[in-house]
């Protein structure tokens, strides 16, 4: 069994790493002329813009997420449960949908300006394009990553640690700063890293808000046929991503010692907010309004306006079908590729499989634009017959989302004791029979979960689809993009609504499950 699994896994690794490796080698070997591109002021500006946006979004997100986590877990905030459910929901809004809705409302000649013009004759609003819009929208869409990680850490925190601080003479406030916050640091770090990676990877918001971070700069270079500059930028992104991943492994290894102590069964007493109840409530209302209610309202507004004007795309059915079929095929193929690799990693843990794990996981942080560009390069030079075909798009999806599929399968497989498989072996079954009669049925729920997750992620994917889709192959995501780039906001509403509804499904499932557990 093992050699077969290895053979297959190596094929997967080659498929995943080939395009990126090819890109890196090509750029490295391009000669000193191309390297001059690194010294262009545009490169420094892009680096500075990306870093500045990532830092700003992460910081503001932390200032939104940590108070909400603390309020919903530890205090007597009114409607605590409701806020706990509502505040992570912005995760279901794809970034280009968020960008589109905010641009349509607050852009020049946008809804707000039109409204203010009729009422007060205001003809100009402060500029939303550029940094302010990108930061605002990215923050509202990505703060849930920090919220979820700090909230999980906070609810697992041993309450006697805070009580110990109280018994040593510190009040609620200084206990929070001296004990609670330092203990949340690993979770805060992990969440912040996710937010920073989100910003680094994001294409939708920065493209719509016209703020040239790496992803937009790469896309613009690519569409203006400056391919060497696009490749160079991609290389820098790959390096930056590697730095981020290195930081992540460092933070993870340092979090170990935060896990001592069993944690008591006693739930901590809720902290009485007193006079702070109203400000706390207003804070939650503001965040939920800006990140959830406002975008939903805008989406519904544009949908109604589009329906009234008869502007709904006539071929919506076909487009939705394209999205669904591409996502379904992608999900199945990626999952099938993930199973053997995961079995090898989980059931034969050694140094080689650990390396396999690291490698197959490493692409998760790369922006879709970069992957797509690497494939374009590779295809154009070595496989012109693959260029702009569906299999090439599938390969891009595979590189982007294999880590996600592997995660889902791995979690389930880890819960299946190898003893069960060994029992089947001892009862006379061949390893292959064991897999089909024991392992696979037990894996079913994990496979379904993994497949639906990958399905939805592919459906939301924009940049790789935009660059690699066969000519004339429109999906929900790309049709939103083309409608928004031409400012046909009403046309984008119907596909955007479909996508948001689809991505809400796993979140709804998650929330319902969580309730059942309680």
């Amino acid at each position: 069994m093992t050699p077969i699994l290895w053979g297959f896994s190596i094929l997967v690794v080659i498929a995943i790493l080939l395009p990126i490796t090819y890109l890196i080698i090509r750029v490295m070997g391009a000669g000193s002329d191309a390297w001059q591109g690194l010294l262009r002021p545009q490169m420094f500006e892009t680096i500075a813009r990306t870093a500045w946006l990532a830092i700003a979004v992460t910081t503001v997100s932390a200032f939104i997420a940590v108070p909400i986590a603390w309020l919903t877990v530890r205090t007597d905030l009114p409607f605590r449960k409701m806020w706990a459910i509502l505040t992570p929901l912005p995760l279901v809004i794809p970034s280009y949908v968020g960008g589109y809705l905010f641009a349509s409302a607050f852009g020049p000649r946008g809804l707000l300006q039109q409204l203010l013009e009729t009422l007060f004759g205001v003809t100009r609003l402060p500029e939303i394009y550029g940094f302010p819009g990108a930061m605002l929208v990215l923050t509202l869409l990505s703060y849930p990553y920090i919220l979820l990680s700090t909230r999980a850490a906070l609810s697992k925190l041993d309450p006697s640690l805070e009580e110990a601080s109280r018994s040593l003479g510190y009040g609620n406030w200084s206990t929070f700063w001296r004990v609670t916050l330092p203990l949340l640091r690993p979770a805060l770090g992990a969440g912040s890293l996710l937010v920073a990676l989100y910003v680094l990877r994001d294409f939708g918001v920065v493209a719509i808000m016209r703020y040239s971070t790496f992803t937009r700069a790469i896309y613009v270079s690519y569409t203006s046929f400056d391919r060497s500059q696009a490749a160079l930028l991609s290389l820098v992104v790959v390096l930056v991503t590697l730095v981020f991943l290195f930081i992540e492994t460092r933070t993870l290894s340092r979090t170990k010692y935060f896990q001592i102590g069993t944690g008591q069964a006693r739930p901590p007493a809720l902290i009485q907010l007193g006079y702070w109840r109203l400000p706390a409530l207003l804070f939650c209302v503001t965040v939920v309004f800006a990140s959830l209610i406002l975008p939903s309202g805008l989406l519904i507004y544009w949908l109604i306006r589009g329906l009234r004007a008869g502007e709904v795309i006539p071929s919506l059915g076909l487009i939705a079908w394209n999205s669904i079929s591409a996502s379904a095929i992608g999900a199945i193929v990626i999952l099938l590729a993930a199973i053997p690799v995961v079995i090898l990693i989980v059931r034969r843990p050694n140094k080689a499989t650990l390396l396999l794990h690291r490698i197959t996981y490493s692409t998760f942080a790369l922006p879709g634009v970069v992957i797509a560009l690497a494939l374009v390069f590779f295809g154009a030079n070595h496989a012109p017959w693959l260029y702009q075909t569906f299999p090439m798009l599938l390969l891009a999806y595979g590189i982007l989302f294999l880590p996600q599929a592997m995660g889902a399968v791995r979690t389930t497989l880890l819960q299946i004791s190898p003893n069960v498989e060994e029992a089947a072996r001892s009862l006379g079954r061949h390893p292959v029979q064991v897999f089909f009669s024991v392992t696979l049925p037990l894996l079913k729920s994990g496979l379904i979960a993994g497949a639906s997750l990958v399905f939805l992620t592919i459906m939301k994917e924009l940049p790789a689809t935009l660059i690699l889709a066969p000519i004339g192959f429109k999906t929900l995501a790309t049709s939103i993009w083309s409608a928004v780039s031409e400012a046909f906001f009403a046309q984008a509403a119907a596909p955007a609504l479909l996508i948001v509804l689809m991505s809400s499904l796993p979140m709804a499932y998650f929330i319902l499950n969580e309730k059942n557990v309680e």
Binding site: L168, P182, G261
Partner: protein
């Protein structure tokens, strides 16, 4: 040194959680310099009582006075950080992000660096961990964490030390050693201590006095000897020393029972039905073919044998014998009470 001044005064404490009455009308005093053990089965309200004194819970009614100051009553509630207590938690609750030194220094506020260094040094020296000051909690063994927790609680010189099952997370062999050490330290600094345990042996060892709780009630409070020999309730007799209860009737000169007349001075009217609490050390027996009971089991306990006897009525009694005296299960024996001290007697 124990004095008669009162360090903690609890009066009619009541605490409910939803439907359960966790603490029901508990009143007790802790004398300055004494170690008071709160003892009882799980769910008896001992931990809640401790947390009420600490200020982590607010009583529904009742009054708590620490020293001269009312810390909780119907209008006052002093938060835990203002009560001047030192608490040792069940899981130690050492701050994982701080070193041993910083953990112990955590409660020392408004002191200069030199003062802090000298106090922490003194505390770590006292618990024998001076060389560990740069380590982190995850680098310590269970017993070492326990001692750091104690040092941290004692460093600010609290007026009252509270301990919640402090030894329960330690291995059995370590526990005896650590608690001897801890008791010696507490006695050296003459600390006033309230400490919670479900382990009667630990309570008897550690406590100057014991308060036995059951279902939120204070059953009895007294010295270990009083609790053991003069149990005022059947629950206390049963919980401390694993008593069996033998039915009997008051007659002239003692109590008539299934195993004969037990000579006791009893202040009850003749013919009253009673139950006598008998512990394994109160019973002896000899092989006797026409005796009153059967050996049904023997447990070898190392230093002694514990026999389980069944009287003809079905009543079970337990008896200790020396470890060399091994008799076969199934043998008929004559059991009798073998003690001079007064027994705990309850009206049936």
């Amino acid at each position: 040194m124990m004095t008669d001044s009162i360090a903690v005064h609890c009066e009619n404490l009541i605490k409910r959680y939803n439907d359960t009455q966790a603490v029901n009308q508990i009143s007790l005093d802790v004398k300055t310099g004494e170690i008071l053990a709160l003892l009882g089965p799980s769910g008896c309200g001992k931990t809640t009582t401790l947390r009420l004194i600490a200020g982590f819970e607010k009583p529904d009614s009742g009054r708590i006075i620490i020293g001269e100051r009312v810390v909780a009553d119907s209008i006052t509630f002093v938060p835990p950080e203002k009560r001047g207590i030192g608490m040792v938690f069940q899981d130690h609750a050492l701050f994982p992000h701080l070193t041993v030194f910083d953990n112990v220094a955590f409660g020392l506020r408004g002191k200069t660096k030199t003062e802090i260094r000298s106090i922490v040094g003194e505390m770590l020296h006292m618990v024998g961990l001076l060389s560990f000051s740069k380590r982190y909690p995850h680098e310590l063994s269970g017993g070492e964490r326990q001692r750091v927790a104690l040092a941290r609680a004692l460093a600010p010189k609290p007026v009252l030390v509270l301990m919640d099952e402090p030894f329960s997370s330690l291995d059995a062999d370590l526990r005896t050693e650590v608690r001897e050490h801890v008791r010696r330290i507490l006695k050296t600094i003459q600390a006033t201590v309230v400490f919670v345990t479900h382990d009667q042996e630990e309570a008897l060892y550690m406590g100057d006095r014991l308060a036995v709780l059951q279902k939120g009630h204070l059953e009895q409070i007294g010295t270990p000897e009083e609790i053991f020999h003069e149990s005022t309730t059947r629950f206390v007799a049963e919980f401390i020393g694993d008593s069996d209860f033998l039915k009997g009737k008051i007659v002239k000169g003692g109590i008539q029972t299934e195993i004969g007349l037990i000579k006791q001075l009893v202040d009850l009217p003749l013919a009253t039905q009673v139950e006598i609490a008998l512990r394994p050390d109160d019973i002896d027996f000899q092989i006797d073919g026409s005796g009153n009971s059967l050996i049904i089991e023997r447990f070898f306990r190392g230093a002694f044998n514990l026999y389980r006897l069944r009287l003809d009525s079905g009543q079970i009694l337990h008896a200790f014998t020396e470890h060399t005296r091994i008799l076969p299960v199934g043998a008929r024996v004559q059991a009798h009470v073998n003690t001079d001290h007064s027994l705990n007697i309850f009206s049936a």
